[in-house]
């Protein structure tokens, strides 16, 4: 009786990714609130009659009943709770959701639990499409998810001399993993200059909540500067580039040329 109960467990999870397996099965990567990142197998999930289909869709937040298996745990039942809406209507929004999910999946370690990151991801996915522009939300998510897993950036003081950063262009030291004043930047072979306005915006993102941060309007120049800074920082933390960001750039080029 006890053994029977131990073999089954329940999680609430967001689908981070999935791939086809076998004839009709799917291996689904879940980010669960209770057990962190886990890969599970959903048997028959690719059949149109599968009840687990919608619950194992990308970005879905679902409740899973899992049975411990020898290699992978097996989905015994799955119920969709919610998923971001209108992702299909904009390729850029789809890429933004993908980016947040991919970043989460790459930042968390299997076997560890991250309830705060889970709540952050859930909240951010739900907010996609709420504001007119998704970009501030995506940047807010990046800054805060990095903080939640221990890669917090202090945008107020220099990681070299510890002095307060002046109202001037300062630097993000990718080797140092922190902000550097003009005097300390030479100690870091990979320092990116950050304009005063971009620094102001990064401070706001790390200080404000999702609502106020995602409603702030910024110039396209600052938006693209902050996007570049955050992409460089995440790539250096993860020691690899992010797939969704590469596709997002491609989508921007393609949709530009097709004027969609």
């Amino acid at each position: 009786m006890t053994a029977e109960r131990d073999r089954n467990y329940r999680v609430e999870a967001i689908v981070l990714g999935r791939r086809d397996f076998g004839e009709t099965d799917r291996i689904v990567t879940l980010f669960s609130r209770e057990s962190g990142k886990i890969s599970v197998i959903a048997k028959g999930a690719r059949k149109p009659t599968a009840r687990s289909g919608p619950a194992t869709e990308y970005f879905a937040r679902s409740r899973f009943m899992l049975a411990r298996g020898r290699d992978l745990d097996v989905v015994t039942s799955a119920e969709l709770l919610d998923r971001p809406t209108n992702l299909e209507s904009s390729l850029a929004r789809l890429a933004h959701a993908s980016h947040m999910v991919e970043l989460t999946g790459k930042l968390v370690q299997e076997g560890e639990v991250y309830p705060a990151v889970y709540d952050l991801l859930h909240l951010s996915l739900r907010h996609l499409g709420v504001a007119e522009d998704d970009l501030p939300l995506v940047r807010w998510f990046e800054v805060n998810v990095l903080t939640a897993v221990g890669y917090q950036l202090d945008f107020w003081s220099c990681a070299g001399c510890q002095r307060e950063l002046g109202a001037e262009p300062n630097f993000l030291g990718l080797r140092t993993g922190g902000m550097l004043c003009p005097g300390c930047r030479t100690g870091d072979g990979q320092a990116m200059q950050i304009s005063v306005n971009a620094q102001k915006y990064l401070r706001l993102l790390s200080r404000e909540g999702i609502r106020s941060a995602s409603s702030v309007r910024i110039s396209p120049a600052v938006a693209s500067e902050v996007e570049r800074v955050m992409a460089a920082y995440t790539s250096s933390v993860l020691e690899r580039d992010l797939t969704s960001l590469r596709v997002l750039r491609e989508i921007r080029e393609q949709t530009g040329s097709y004027s969609v």
Partner: protein
Amino acid sequence: MSSARPGVTARPVANLVEELSKLPGIGPKTATRLAYHILRDSRQNAAQLAEAILDVKDRIVLCSVCFNFSEQNPCPVCSDPTREAAICVVEEPLDVQALDRTGQFRGRYHVLHGAISPIDGIGPGRLKIAELIERVKEEKPNEVILATNLDIPGDATATYLHRLLVPLGVTVSRPATGLPAGGDLEYADEVTLGRALSGRRVL
């Protein structure tokens, strides 16, 4: 962890197991079972299998019109003059088989070779989308049916294609009714697929 460990298993057998387990849906256990089956089987059967594998690699090409696999280019469907002037867009070659079996569609096909999925690294440039746009401009079909899968990548691809196709003045439709969300098209039964095709709605 492969179940064929060096030392216990002869090198050529271990090689075969390794090659077989690269196939989709084949785990190390199934690969081992298949390898031992081939080992026990006649040399002639093994040769036939090896030849069949090389044959598809040597003799099958992508049709330069619809991008389905074919023995000739253009493929028999694209060169069939009795086919109607409509194009049904699908993700994979297997979907062409499934849809053609229904008999509900007598036009031609266009295989994208995937669907847009940024998280899997697949953007529009990786798919046969530019080729589709060129083809529609040239062939001027009466209708383009977007029969991509009914999941997020399939829906996103259909929405994107719709926006590209509408300015070309072609009728664009999508089979929807009766197909449950989240599944792969190739697994739907013929009756359901046929109904979904005939009940397609114009976007």
